[in-house]
Symmetry: C2
């Protein structure tokens, strides 16, 4: 998705999307570098249904391949010249640091039991949304959009990215198994403390909280009723509606940003359609 956002943004602001191919590649290769290193840190066996690099080869290969991919990402940006190059480097370099900070927060959260909603949202913002926002802004910069428009499309991406990531959390528990594509309840089986868990824990009464914590101490993936029991608590505490409210709030914020963009109404409605499409997905 990320590289397409770059091409789309260039097109949106009146540029030739071919001109942003190298920036799109930088975004995609950078993203894949983070996946290689994150998968080592998470000890993940699979990625997109295939063995992860450190499983198929070894940890050293995954570290070093990731390093080179990050360097190559910077190399792709060198295709641009002058002030465009500098503007791309500024947003890209800042984003790269933030993505690493988000990953560090994610790692830290695994051993913490007192993560607040604000901290969780900050983590997914840094780990995920800033790169979506960066992808869009880079496309705008290459098209020669004004600084104001480039910043607005960045904000659009940031809020849409947050909505998208929260929807991931929601669908993992409440998605339709027929269309979701992944196993519904994967986060629950892995005891991942997503937004749903944090908000349920906050709103739970003492009995629900004790049940939730007990259920999240089960590491046996074969415990069949765990997913249903956890989902019941999510529903009983209103966590499911609370996250949907947040998803809508961030989607509306993203759409609100668009009103300030200096773009023809047809382009704007394409962007709105895109946002609605993303937010009505079932997988």
């Amino acid at each position: 998705m990320r590289p397409i956002l770059t091409l789309m943004a260039t097109d949106l602001f009146g540029g030739d999307s071919k001109a942003s191919l190298h920036a799109a590649m930088a975004v995609e290769v950078f993203h894949n570098f983070t996946l290689l290193h994150d998968d080592i840190m998470d000890d993940a066996p699979l990625r997109r249904g295939k063995q992860t690099v450190h499983e198929k080869w070894d940890v050293n290969t995954a570290i070093l391949s990731g390093d080179v991919m990050m360097i190559k990402a910077y190399g792709f940006l060198m295709e641009y010249k002058g002030e465009v190059y500098r503007a791309l480097m500024e947003v890209f370099n800042q984003t790269a640091i933030e993505v690493c900070e988000g990953q560090q927060m994610d790692v830290d959260f695994e051993t913490r039991s007192d993560v607040s909603l604000e901290e969780y949202v900050e983590m997914i913002k840094l780990k995920t949304s800033v790169l979506v926002a960066c992808a869009l802004k880079m496309g705008a910069v290459i098209a020669g959009a004004s600084n104001k428009d480039a910043d607005l499309i960045y904000d659009f991406g940031l809020n849409l990215g947050l909505a998208f990531q929260l929807q991931d959390d929601y669908l993992d528990a409440f998605g339709n198994p027929e269309t979701f594509g992944k196993q519904v309840g994967g986060d629950i089986i892995e005891n991942k403390k997503t937004y749903l868990y944090i908000i349920a824990e906050q709103r739970a009464n003492d009995g629900q909280r004790a049940d939730l914590r007990d259920l999240f101490s089960i590491s046996n993936a074969g415990y069949d009723s765990k997913i249903e029991q956890v989902k019941s608590i999510f529903v009983d505490t209103g966590a499911d509606r609370a996250i949907l409210d947040e998803i809508h709030r961030y989607t509306d914020k993203a759409l609100g940003v668009l009103e300030h963009l200096n773009l023809p109404s047809e382009s704007l409605s394409n962007l709105k359609d895109f946002a609605h499409y993303l937010m009505n997905r079932s997988s």
Copy 2:
């Protein structure tokens, strides 16, 4: 040493070395990023007499800190503008890729028994010398040196870097224990196939070769006479003189490059003194 080379080169070509502080920091932070990741790959417990980052904290921290350091290195270079910035990025990005390639060769060599001298020299060139050369070239670029001079100082650094690294191999076996600073024979204890080993193995007769291979299959660090026996074979096969010849050859090549530099003779003689100082070190 590397950041000082950058400052020195700026001064040498008539610039203000303060102007190259950020480039010097980029080089040093990049170098330390490679140390963090290399130490994970080599499973090294110590670096500069202290616990390595992955030992003191954990592997994840070392991976992620290294990643951020690489990104920060790129960030330091953003202090420069226009064509200077582009020229710095070009040499830095190319060098960064080469350093990773050198590390991959080094990792690969650990499980190979047929590494040639040419491959070994290519490995140390990529892993070590190119960054020395890059450090010098960046200093020259910032001072506004001509492309020709910037390339010449790069070549000087490349050859001096090779001489320096080969001298490391030599001193590890034949350094004076009183002045060497590290344990003499460290590479031999670890069965590291340095230039000395490769050339000795090539020049050995059948008996010497069998002895050398036997000695390099000993992983017991307490086997006292191993170092002396290996050093005898290095001497008997002439490997010690052969590596000294190579060190001189690369030093002379570095000094020869200087003749083509467009610099006042006093500056040139400072550079020569520096090269001689490096090559006459005992630690």
